[in-house]
C-alpha cells in the first residue's frame, strides 16, 4: 500500500488562469478512487501531477512521505502505472508485445519467461487471450482499452492511474472493468485512481469519489456522501434525481431548462430561431 499526499498543489499554464488551486488530498488505502468533474475541471492535470507527467506550479506531492521531486522516472514507474485516455501507437505490435511493454521498468532489454507469463496472465484477466497474437491495429476501441489496462497491470504497480478507462467500452465492459479495478485494488492491495464520466458506473463500484469543481476539491468521500443531487446539479449544471439501488446511489439525469443556457445561437437557429422546446 502506498500513501499519496498532495499538499497545497497548484497548477497553471498561465499564472492568470489557474487550473488547480490549493489541492490537499490524501489517498492511503488500497481502494478504487474515482475523480469526477466537468470538462476542463483539471482531472487529467491532477493525475499528471501524481505521476510526474506535469510539474505542479507550486505545492508538493508525496509518495509514502517522499517528495515526488526526488523520484527518478524509472523508480516511479515501479510504483505508479498509467493508462492514457487514448493509445498513440504509430507502428503497432502484437497484443502480447504491447502488454509486455509494462515490464520495461522491471526488465532488461530482453523479456524473461516470467515477464511473458505475467503479461499473459493479465491478458487473460481482461479476457483478451484469443487476441494475444493479433496486431493491436486490428482491435476495436474497447479492446484497445482492455489491452492498455492489461499492460498497466503487467507493470505490477502499487498505484494505478487511469484516464477514462471505460470511455470506449460498452455497458457490460464498463461494469466489468470497474468491478475488476475495484477487486484488483482489494485483492492486490493496489490504489486505483481513475477518471470517470459515468456517474452510475462510479456510484456502483467506487470506494471513494473525489469531486473537482472551481479549481479545487469540492467533495471527497463515499459515493453516498458525494453523489448527491445538490453536488451533481452544481457540478454539471443539470437537473437530476438520485435514488438508491442495491444500496448505492443511482442517478437519473433530467432534460430541462438548465441545458438551454449551454445551447448556442447556432443550434437555436436549427429550430427556425425559436427556442428549443419539447413541442
Amino acid at each position: 500500500m502506498t500513501e499519496i499526499r498532495l499538499e497545497k498543489l497548484c497548477f497553471s499554464y498561465d499564472p492568470a488562469v489557474p487550473i488547480l488551486k490549493d489541492i490537499d488530498l490524501v489517498i492511503d488505502k488500497p481502494e478504487l478512487v474515482c475523480i469526477l468533474g466537468a470538462n476542463g475541471a483539471g482531472k487529467s492535470t491532477l493525475m499528471h501531477c501524481i505521476n510526474k507527467l506535469s510539474i505542479p506550479t507550486s505545492g508538493d506531492v508525496y509518495l509514502d512521505g517522499k517528495n515526488l521531486k526526488e523520484f527518478h522516472l524509472k523508480d516511479l514507474a515501479k510504483i505508479i502505472s498509467f493508462v492514457p485516455h487514448q493509445e498513440e501507437t504509430t507502428f503497432s505490435m502484437s497484443v502480447l508485445d504491447t502488454v509486455l511493454m509494462g515490464r520495461i521498468p522491471h526488465s532488461g532489454n530482453l523479456m524473461s519467461s516470467d515477464d511473458i507469463r505475467i503479461a499473459a496472465e493479465n491478458i487473460k484477466l481482461l479476457e483478451m487471450q484469443d487476441f494475444a497474437m493479433h496486431n493491436f491495429d486490428e482491435l476495436s476501441a474497447g479492446q484497445h482499452q482492455k489491452v492498455m489496462i492489461a499492460r498497466s497491470l503487467t507493470q505490477e504497480p502499487k498505484v494505478m492511474l487511469l484516464d477514462e478507462p471505460t470511455a470506449n467500452l460498452d455497458v457490460k465492459y464498463q461494469m466489468l472493468v470497474m468491478r475488476m479495478l475495484r477487486d484488483v485494488a482489494k485483492i492486490k492491495g493496489i490504489t486505483v485512481i481513475t477518471i470517470c464520466h459515468d456517474l452510475n458506473v462510479t456510484a456502483m463500484y467506487a470506494d471513494r469519489v473525489v469531486m473537482l469543481y472551481n479549481k479545487g476539491i469540492y467533495a471527497d468521500g463515499t459515493v453516498a456522501e458525494v453523489l448527491t443531487k445538490e453536488n451533481i446539479e452544481l457540478l454539471y449544471g443539470i437537473g437530476c434525481q438520485v435514488m438508491e439501488v442495491q444500496g448505492r446511489p443511482h442517478i437519473a439525469l433530467l432534460d430541462g431548462d438548465e441545458l438551454d443556457s449551454h445551447i448556442g445561437d447556432n443550434y437555436q437557429s436549427l429550430n427556425g430561431g425559436s427556442e428549443v422546446t419539447d413541442e
Binding site: A77, T89, T90, F91, S94, T98, N109, S113, R117, A120
Partner: protein, 363 residues
C-alpha cells in the same frame, strides 16, 4: 502452479501456456527470418563480387577470395586479384556498411519520431553534408588531401542540424514534430547556401561538387572502410541497446515517461547516434537516398514493429538492398552508375507500393 523447465514455462492455466507457446513460436519464426536474411545477404554479396566491367569468372573470384582469406597480408599478384580484393571487396563492404547503417538509422528515427517518413536525412543531415563538401571543393580545403578535407567537412556539417536541435531543446521541449521541422529549416538554409556556392564557383568546381552530392561507391577503398565501419558498428550497437525505449516512445511520450523512459534525453541521444552514423556514411559515399526510408518499412512487413527485431532486421534488409542496387549499378553500364541514382530509382516505386498496400492509415 507455474514452474520453469529450462527456458520453457508450464502453467496449469491452459490459456497462459498457449499464449506463451504462441509467443515463443512467433519469435522463433522471426529469428529464422533474420537468419534467412543473413543467408540472402551472403549470397548476394558473393554474387556481387563476380559482377563488374572487368570480366572475371565465378571460379576465379572465389579462388582469389579463398587465397586472400587464408593469408590476408600476402602480396597481391595478378590484375584479377587486385580487381577482386582491392576494388570489389571494399566496394562490397562499403555497400553493406552503408546500407545497414542507414537502415538502422531510419528505423530508429521512424520509431523515435513516430513518423513513417522520417529517415536519417529528415533532420537535415544530407544538406549539411552537401554544404560541407561543396565548401571544401570550392575553397580547395585540403586536410592532407582535398578528398580528406571534403570528407571531414561533410562529416562536420552533417552534424550541424543535430547540434541546432540539441541547442533548441535546451530552451524548449523537443517534440518529434519540432525536431523534424527544425531539421527542415536547417535543410533549407543549407540548400540555399549550397546553391549560392554552386552559382559563384567555376564550372569545373561545380561539376566536382555536383558529383559528390550523388551517392557513389566508386571511391570505396580499404583505407576509408575502417572509419566508416567503426562509426557505424558503434552507433548501431548503441541503438540496439535502446530498443525497449524506442518501443515505449512509439506509444507516445507520456506513456514512455510512465514506464520510466527519460524521453527528452533518450531522443537527443538517439538523434546524435543517428546523425553520427549517417554523417559517417555520407561523408564517404555522398548522399544515398531511400535506403534509410524504405528498408525499415520492408522489414516491418515480415518482422513487425518490435524494435528488438526491427533494428537487426532493417540492418540486414538495408545491406541487401544496397548490395542488390550495386549489382544493378554495375550491370547496365561499363562504368558503374552512382548508387544514389539506383537506390532512388528503385526505392521510389517500392515506397509507392508500400504506401498502397498499407493496412493502417499512418500516412
Amino acid at each position: 502452479m507455474l514452474k520453469k523447465k529450462g527456458k520453457d514455462i508450464v502453467s496449469s492455466d491452459e490459456d497462459v501456456t498457449r499464449m506463451y507457446t504462441s509467443y515463443r513460436t512467433s519469435r522463433s519464426k522471426k529469428l529464422l527470418a533474420i537468419i534467412i536474411l543473413f543467408v540472402i545477404l551472403i549470397a548476394a554479396s558473393l554474387y556481387g563480387l563476380t559482377v563488374g566491367s572487368y570480366p572475371i569468372s565465378f571460379q576465379e573470384v572465389y579462388e582469389i577470395l579463398l587465397k586472400r582469406l587464408s593469408d590476408l597480408w600476402a602480396a597481391i599478384g595478378s590484375v584479377d586479384e587486385r580487381v577482386v580484393w582491392n576494388q570489389r571487396m571494399p566496394r562490397l563492404l562499403t555497400a553493406i556498411v552503408a546500407g545497414a547503417g542507414l537502415a538502422v538509422a531510419g528505423a530508429a528515427m521512424q520509431s523515435m519520431m513516430k513518423n513513417p517518413l522520417a529517415d536519417p536525412y529528415t533532420t537535415g543531415i544530407s544538406s549539411g553534408a552537401s554544404f560541407g563538401a561543396v565548401i571544401a571543393i570550392a575553397f580547395g580545403i585540403a586536410i592532407g588531401t582535398l578528398e580528406t578535407g571534403t570528407t571531414i567537412l561533410a562529416f562536420v556539417f552533417a552534424l550541424v542540424p543535430a547540434a541546432v536541435i540539441i541547442l533548441l531543446s535546451t530552451f524548449k521541449k523537443t517534440s518529434p514534430s519540432m525536431m523534424i521541422l527544425a531539421g527542415l529549416s536547417v535543410m533549407y538554409i543549407f540548400n540555399a547556401m549550397t546553391q549560392y556556392m554552386m552559382l559563384v564557383v567555376d564550372s569545373e568546381t561545380m561539376e566536382a561538387a555536383y558529383q559528390w552530392t550523388i551517392g557513389t561507391l566508386n571511391k570505396a577503398s580499404w583505407s576509408t572502410l575502417p572509419i566508416m565501419a567503426g562509426v557505424t558498428i558503434v552507433g548501431v550497437f548503441a541503438i540496439m541497446c535502446m530498443t525497449k525505449y524506442l518501443n515505449a516512445m512509439n506509444s507516445g511520450d507520456n506513456y514512455a515517461k510512465t514506464v520510466g523512459v527519460n524521453v527528452g534525453r533518450i531522443r537527443i541521444f538517439i538523434l546524435v547516434l543517428v546523425s553520427i552514423i549517417a554523417a559517417g556514411i555520407v561523408s564517404f559515399t555522398g548522399i544515398i537516398g531511400f535506403v534509410g526510408l524504405v528498408a525499415p518499412h520492408i522489414t516491418r512487413i515480415f518482422l513487425g514493429s518490435d524494435n528488438k527485431l526491427l533494428i537487426p532486421g532493417s540492418m540486414l534488409v538495408g545491406a541487401i538492398v544496397m548490395v542488390a542496387c550495386d549489382i544493378v549499378a554495375k550491370s547496365f553500364t561499363t562504368v558503374a552508375l552512382p548508387i544514389g541514382i539506383v537506390t532512388s530509382f528503385i526505392g521510389g516505386p517500392v515506397f509507392l507500393f508500400l504506401i498502397i498496400r498499407q493496412k493502417k492509415e499512418i500516412w
